[in-house]
């Protein structure tokens, strides 16, 4: 009996074990299937995300690049191509004549050099002044340093017109704040207004530069600075030997933005130079008229438009070259400037 029951139990046991094993196997298989399915799903999901991403990126790039490409293409066209409805992207009568004419009309070498000089002057001065101010309020504790910082932020909120319009009057009758007899001398149509406001860190968006650099200096470790003091370096030596080299990414960002904004500036240029002087901006505005030998009636013509487009390409070409070389700094170093706090 016992053996019988024993075998019975054994049989039952084996049977259940077998069933269980089958069950487990089944489960494993199902799991595998599910895994495979989920992996398949994941793959589909991944692919569809890549496709949507690609569409998004291509669409946005198209919108950004389109106006630039149109100008570039137009600058190689003849007048006949503009009238030709079938020509859209590829000029039928490819020509470099527009560049020859525009180059001459803009007096490009001279106006380029003047603009470069003004832009470098402004951006180097702003770089120096904003960095110094940011270092002063970011690194030293003194009564009023928070207040100075809030003043710097305040300059960002005031519309530039509100300041520059009275400022241009002050520069027109500049008396060195009472030192010269009335009506003073006119500083307009010279580099002086640009130099004065850049050297004193109140140029275009200088508040932003001060903000960025202050964050940068605040985030730098104290030990280095203290070690320099212990070694007997003075405040200024510590600044330019120890702190400045560590702040290079921030300095590059500020210099680049200041350079680009000054190059592109329309506002200060027209108000302080009153549309005079041999700068790219004025050259670009006058290019079409000059190319037409001063014939005002043709200013609305297609040809004038082609010249204008060529001029715009010539105007932004230096920036594009700069960007091509420096874009790594533009894109990557702003992430290290600590602008996000």
């Amino acid at each position: 009996m016992e053996t019988n029951t024993d075998t019975g139990v054994k049989v039952r046991f084996v049977r259940t074990a077998g069933l269980q094993a089958a069950d487990i196997l089944d489960q494993i298989n199902r799991e595998k299937d599910r895994n495979r399915a989920s992996r398949f799903n994941k793959k589909i999901k991944g692919i569809s995300i890549s496709i949507i991403r690609a569409l998004f990126l291509i669409g946005v790039s198209y919108i950004i690049l389109m106006p630039l490409l149109e100008k570039l293409v137009t600058s190689f066209m003849t007048e006949a191509d503009i009238f030709d409805q079938t020509v859209r992207w590829i000029p039928r009568n490819f020509t470099l004549d527009n560049y020859r004419v525009t180059w001459k009309a803009m007096n490009y070498p001279v106006s380029f050099f003047n603009t470069l000089l003004l832009t470098l002057t402004v951006s180097i001065l702003q770089l120096i002044s904003c960095t110094a101010v940011a270092y002063g309020i970011g690194r030293f504790k003194f009564p009023g340093n928070k207040f100075i910082f809030s003043l710097a932020v305040f300059t960002l909120v005031v519309p530039p017109t509100m300041i520059t319009v009275p400022l241009s009057l002050n520069f027109k009758y500049f008396t060195f704040f009472g030192l010269l007899p009335e009506p003073g001398i006119s500083l307009l149509n010279s580099y002086w207004p640009f130099i004065l406001i850049s050297a004193t860190a109140v140029g275009l968006r200088n508040g932003l530069f001060i903000y960025v650099m202050r964050q940068f200096f605040k985030g730098m470790p104290r030990d280095l600075e203290e070690a320099a003091y212990v070694d007997g370096a003075g405040v200024f030596k510590t600044f330019y030997r120890i702190m400045l080299p560590g702040a290079i990414p921030g300095l590059v960002v500020i210099f680049l933005f200041s350079f680009v904004w000054q190059w592109n500036d329309y506002f200060y240029n027209t108000i302080f130079l009153s549309g005079q002087g041999n700068f790219l901006l004025q050259a670009l505005q006058g290019a079409a008229l000059k190319a037409l030998d001063g014939d005002h009636n043709k200013l609305k013509s297609q040809y004038a438009s082609i010249i204008r487009h060529t001029g715009m390409i010539l105007y932004i070409a230096p920036l594009l070259v700069l960007y091509a070389f420096m874009q790594r700094y533009f894109i990557e170093s702003i992430q290290r400037t600590g602008i996000v706090g």
Binding site: I64, V165, L196, V260, N264, Q285, G341
Partner: protein
């Protein structure tokens, strides 16, 4: 006999010395003209050979720009409405673009390069010239003709959804604005990207171990961690759209001063504009400080 300064005193002195350029610049080239702007707005300014003379005329300039000036009120209101619609769109777009550009994929560097190109190409003169250029308009017309089909299709599609009409108009308006929005988003994308990379990856790993889905970790980690940066960006975008030198009100103020109704009227416009910017910034910061999350 020179008294030797203590270390602390020397540091205070150095702090002032470093800040000196800005203190000078702020006083002479910012605060002084800033006060002048207010004074001018209550005066008639006459320019003569010997300089300029102010004739006090009370609120005449303000009365003139609000009641008589043909364009000011319209441009003023349009600019405000424009900014109020643009800011959320710019924020949404640049946040989304930053999320995409933060992923790993082939051609990421190229994509970033193109997305930041508008920062370089934002020359006021070019925007200005484009507005009155014939060929650009021609090409624009061609582009519009291409777009008109999608535009009409979208309108019909949306009308069928029985959504509120105001919402549909907003969507259609947003579609029209897409190019402007994209071009105004360069720096905001940079700031968001920097923010995204400052979130420690360990938080995501922990969430992943706890079984959070990507959707959950976006709303529970990314979004709250980014909320201060969203506020920063909102303030930046508002300032940028209001103060960009190609803004219509900014242009109008300048043109009135130089060749229009004079400096007094121009400064009255500037003062009103300034006050309005302060109000809008104040509201933005007040409203958003409620949901901004600070880690500390």
């Amino acid at each position: 006999m020179k008294k030797r300064l203590s270390f602390k005193q020397r540091r205070i002195l150095a702090g002032y010395l470093f800040s000196l350029p800005f203190l000078l610049g702020f006083t002479l080239f910012f605060f002084y003209p800033f006060i002048q702007a207010f004074i001018f707005s209550f005066n008639e300014l006459v320019i003569s050979r010997e300089g300029f003379v102010l004739n006090f005329n009370g609120f005449d300039n303000y009365g003139y720009i609000l009641n008589v000036h043909p364009d000011f009120l319209r441009i003023f209101v349009e600019t405000i409405l424009d900014t109020i619609t643009n800011v959320p769109l710019v924020l949404a777009f640049s946040f989304f673009a930053a999320l995409v550009l933060n992923q790993r994929f082939k051609g990421r560097f190229l994509a970033r390069t193109i997305f930041f190109l508008p920062v370089i190409l934002s020359a006021g003169i070019i925007i200005q010239m484009d507005i009155d250029d014939m060929v650009t308009q021609l090409l624009h017309g061609a582009r519009n003709a291409e777009l008109i089909f999608t535009g009409v299709g979208l309108r019909n599609l949306l009308m069928n959804t029985k959504l509120p009409e105001g919402f549909i108009e907003f969507i259609l308006g947003a579609v029209d604005r897409i190019p402007d929005i994209i071009r105004a988003s360069g720096i905001q994308i940079l700031i968001f990207l920097a923010g995204l990379q400052s979130i420690p990856p360990s938080i995501y790993e922990a969430a992943d171990v706890e079984g959070a889905t990507g959707w959950e970790s976006f709303w529970l980690i990314t979004f709250p961690m980014m909320s201060p940066i969203i506020l920063t960006n909102a303030v930046y975008t508002i300032i940028d759209t209001f103060l960009t030198t190609t803004n219509e009100v900014v242009m109008l103020v300048r043109d009135e001063a130089i060749m229009g109704a004079g400096y007094g009227v121009s400064m009255a416009m500037a003062v009103l504009y300034f006050v309005m910017i302060l109000i809008i910034l104040g509201i933005t910061i007040k409203v958003s400080s409620r949901w901004v999350f600070y880690q500390e």
